[in-house]
């Protein structure tokens, strides 16, 4: 029964993923492509492209797409595949969410405790590093183009500088900045 298997598999994937979306992708690949054979390696590559191109958490996006494709490939109609995608998304978040709320509730009640306060202070410092690492990790040819005097790289650096300054100094709305950058890309690369 593919729906039960799907639910159980994504329950495990959710519980075993630490460190966010991209570590989940590796686990999903192992389960969905290698172990269960629900989709081909090429379909999985499509999945990665899709989940990076659409908004939302990468973990949810991959679970949704994998659930849909797996049920469709098992010979079910499209409406059942939509059900499979919802099932996989639910399964992947339900245990971590329960755990996070339990621990979060406990921490909230004990945040005045000196040990908890020291640990939280240390964690805040670490998170600054984590976010810096996330930004550094995205500084790549894929985001900016090959460094040099070419249109792609110069445009990318200009967009980066403008968005950085507007966001940091002027507190401009991230939504407005995202929309404006998309329009800028569409206009600049159309000539």
């Amino acid at each position: 029964m593919i729906f039960l298997e799907l639910f159980y598999t994504f329950l495990l994937i959710g519980l075993l993923t630490f460190g966010g979306g991209y570590s989940m992708v590796a686990l999903i690949q192992g389960e969905v492509v290698t172990h269960h054979g629900w989709m081909s390696a090429a379909e999985f590559t499509d999945l990665l492209a899709v989940s990076q191109m659409t908004p939302g958490p990468v973990g949810i996006n991959t679970a949704t797409y994998a659930g849909y494709t797996a049920v469709l490939n098992a010979g079910y109609p499209q409406w059942a595949a939509v059900g499979g995608s919802l099932l996989a998304s639910l399964a992947v978040i339900i245990l971590p969410v329960a755990l996070t709320m339990l621990v979060g509730g406990w921490l909230l009640r004990h945040k005045e405790h000196p040990t908890v306060a020291t640990v939280m202070r240390m964690l805040r410092l670490a998170i600054v590093g984590l976010i810096a690492a996330a930004a550094l990790g995205l500084v790549s040819a894929e985001s900016f183009g090959m460094p040099g005097l070419n249109r792609r790289f110069i445009t990318s650096v200009l967009i980066f500088a403008a968005v950085f300054l507007l966001s940091w100094r002027k507190k401009a709305s991230p939504i407005a900045l995202i929309l404006a950058s998309g329009v800028a890309g569409l206009v600049i690369y159309s000539f």
Binding site: L15, L16, G19, G20, G21, D46, V50, Q52, M53, T54, P55, G56, P57, G59, I60, T64, Y68, S89, V92, I93, P96, L99, T100, M101, G104, L107, K111, T118, V119, M120, R121, M122, L123, R124, L125, A126, I127, V128, G129, L130, I131, A132, A135, G137, L138, S143, F144, G145, T155, S156, I159, F160, V163, S167, P174, I175, L177, G185, I188, Y189
Partner: protein
Amino acid sequence: MAKYCDIFWSFFKVGTFTIGGGYAMLPLMQRELVDRHGWLSEEEFLDQVALAQAMPGVFAVNMASLTGFRLRRGWGSVAAIVGNVMMPIVFILLLAMFFRAFRENVYVERIFLGLRPAVVALIAAPVFTIARSAKVTWSNVWIPVVCALLIWLLGVNPAIVVLAAALLGLLYSKIRN
């Protein structure tokens, strides 16, 4: 008290307008939860980021669930999570049905060339404001720097860095007492 529809709507915006997953959502979350609604202080926001990162699962969904839970318990958590994942799931399903036409569309490609550097800038900019509320000083700045280098250069899993920092804090408070 925060209304369910406000919680839902805030996370709906966060889910709909961020591309590139977890950390790309942070600037918009910070704006919605801290600046706009004042539901969390900057420090509380950072605490939640740490906790959401230390737990298994999807980072953005954990953030949504923690915020919703803090504001309106269980149903607040449900409102935040549903808001966060609704549009992404709809987008994915539409794409799964019409994938080829979308991927090979030249206009979509151009839009993404413009978006990618913007996403990097949106993640980089809050590092400086967040550093202030985390009380980074010359004597402790090595901690965020080491964390960033471990993840960026050595490829250490961020969840492990968070757990290690928690242990370090625990050890430090034991020694001091």
